[in-house]
Symmetry: none
Subunit: 199 residues, 4 copies
């Protein structure tokens, strides 16, 4: 299947994707000319179109690539055999680290993506569904082991994910603007999620 020597489409595709991730993490979609993504990947503009149908395809592939990474994190955590609560906390920390690198794109994932071609968007929606599934597996087991209250695990996973965006916003504020240092740590977030805020 693969060419006998040297050339590997997957590698080059990933190279372009990585370049796109860098650029799209810095600037908004419409401020990222394909040309820049290409140059940054060390290829010509035309080459990008050998690996992606169009700009949207790149964008959504980037998002999916990123979600996949988070899914990996979740699955790894889930496999470590610790109690569900510990796993959730670990997951929060790991995602927090992940966000250190992919601040803006991470928020794009959560952000409702407005009306481009439907098919592409659905790819992302499905992926997010997978991510929520992966998180809900952890929660599910927590519920079974009576560690957690028996709410819908999917609902809880959704809420959990949404909380991570608090972290993402924090990091952006802190780094860029040094505004009001509210500092919501993963620890605090986790505590509240577990115990609530009611006295």
């Amino acid at each position: 299947m693969a060419k006998i020597k040297g050339w590997n489409p997957e590698i080059k595709r990933q190279k372009i994707l990585d370049s796109a991730i860098q650029i799209l993490n810095r600037k908004e979609y419409h401020q990222c000319p394909i040309d820049e993504i290409a140059k940054n990947a060390g290829v010509a503009k035309g080459t990008v179109y050998l690996y992606f149908r169009n700009k949207e395809d790149i964008y959504f592939s980037v998002l999916i690539n990123l979600i996949d990474k988070v899914i990996d994190i979740a699955e790894n955590v889930q496999r470590n055999g610790l109690p569900a609560k510990k796993q959730l906390f670990l997951l929060l920390q790991r995602i927090s680290n992940f966000i250190d690198t992919y601040r803006h794109l991470f928020l794009s994932i959560q952000q409702e993506v407005k009306p481009p071609k439907e098919k592409l968007r659905d790819r992302v929606h499905k992926k997010i569904g997978e991510l929520i599934k992966a998180i809900s597996v952890i929660i599910e087991s927590g519920i079974k082991k009576k560690e957690l209250k028996s709410y819908s695990s999917v609902a809880l996973a959704t809420i959990f994910l949404s909380l991570t965006s608090v972290i993402a916003h924090q990091k952006i504020e802190i780094r860029k603007h040094k505004i009001q240092q509210i500092d919501i740590s993963p620890e605090l977030l986790f505590k509240i999620l577990m115990e609530g805020i009611e006295k």
Copy 2:
């Protein structure tokens, strides 16, 4: 042709802003030509530039306008003299209703807005700070009255706000794609926020 006595630039500005809110709530920023916003407001393209410096100015003014509305909601709730817990629940419900109308723009508020001209963005950040402040007033009083645990009220307000985006996403999913009806109601969200999910 003679101007009627009570001509008021603020009124026209608001007309344009309202038009922009409508359009920007439907489509993505780059798909909303100034021309469309102008026509929709019943004025000519050039007129828009008499009231706004440029397109970004419109966009951020729209966001600020919206945040102002949410601040109003928070302040109204805060003034009604009910217990803090009740107030928070009421606020969640009111924001939920608000989101019914301003789904997409509401998410744009939360979404980190990427690198346009810094000054404009800061206006939005400050406004969000005000909103969080308004919410934290409620929380603060709850803490004082021992209704709530004594975490940083700003931190709690931030988390509270971030939870509302769960609702916004719900509404979009439900309306547009009818995917997995997870149904996270304000009631559920509120319960979890109060009591946590730990058994």
Copy 3:
């Protein structure tokens, strides 16, 4: 309706159209960048799009504009009250002169125009229908007055029109390549059309 002073959309539209006619008469469609048409018309590229939907719209508008001119010729000839035969000969001569200026575009009219958006092409087809109609009016009257054999006037008009392309080819050959000076004059063509070549 029209602006009180100075600005007249029809005049500018025609200016662009005239520019397009010049350029498209010299080179093939795909070798005529909008930019060149615009510059040649003394306007900016964007301005062209205020008067035409897109490049195809320009192209077909050019063709229609040209056919209209030929229709005018035919109608003028038809109105002069001469015998049909004389009229046909006059028409052939006038078209021959017309071709002097619009050699290439004239052939484009006759040429089947391949698969662009159907609606636009149909505009041209309808116009050609009108032209054939205008010619057939002359022929019809010739048939009525027993000057001409009673074939279908539309068929004869179609054949007549197709013969003019012989002239167009001639002119191109003569001017450009000076190949075999066959020299098929309108006179010869007309004689053959009238009397046939059979002895």
Copy 4:
């Protein structure tokens, strides 16, 4: 991998040419990427460039190939020993059949081909000259045998050829648009060519 003995570059060249004929007969020149022609011929894009200098070379080779086929038809007809008139009618019919298959390309032949590199175009012009020569041989003999009036045989051949495009247009109209079924049959065309339309 070892080349079979009888490998013949001419055969592969023709394969590519045949592929190009198919594609170019369906779509306009600029809508026929070399890639498609190559794929359709079962070779790689690069291979095409081993047999043709560039895309234009392909195009003009296609036209020449086609004209050659028509020349063959004319020469075959000419050799059958029938009276010139019969031969001309036969030729008209055969070309009519030929057009059934090569509608669009046939019109491209007649169509003045605009300013590409001159050398290539001249090849086509020369070929058309040959075709006209082949037709004029028939006409010449008709003139000699007093079947036909003694006009310039080349001129008559040119006119004859131009009449065939009436047929080509017919076929396109009929097949594609079912517009006004004027129906100009080869029979009618031939009758008019022989006897004229004058009463």
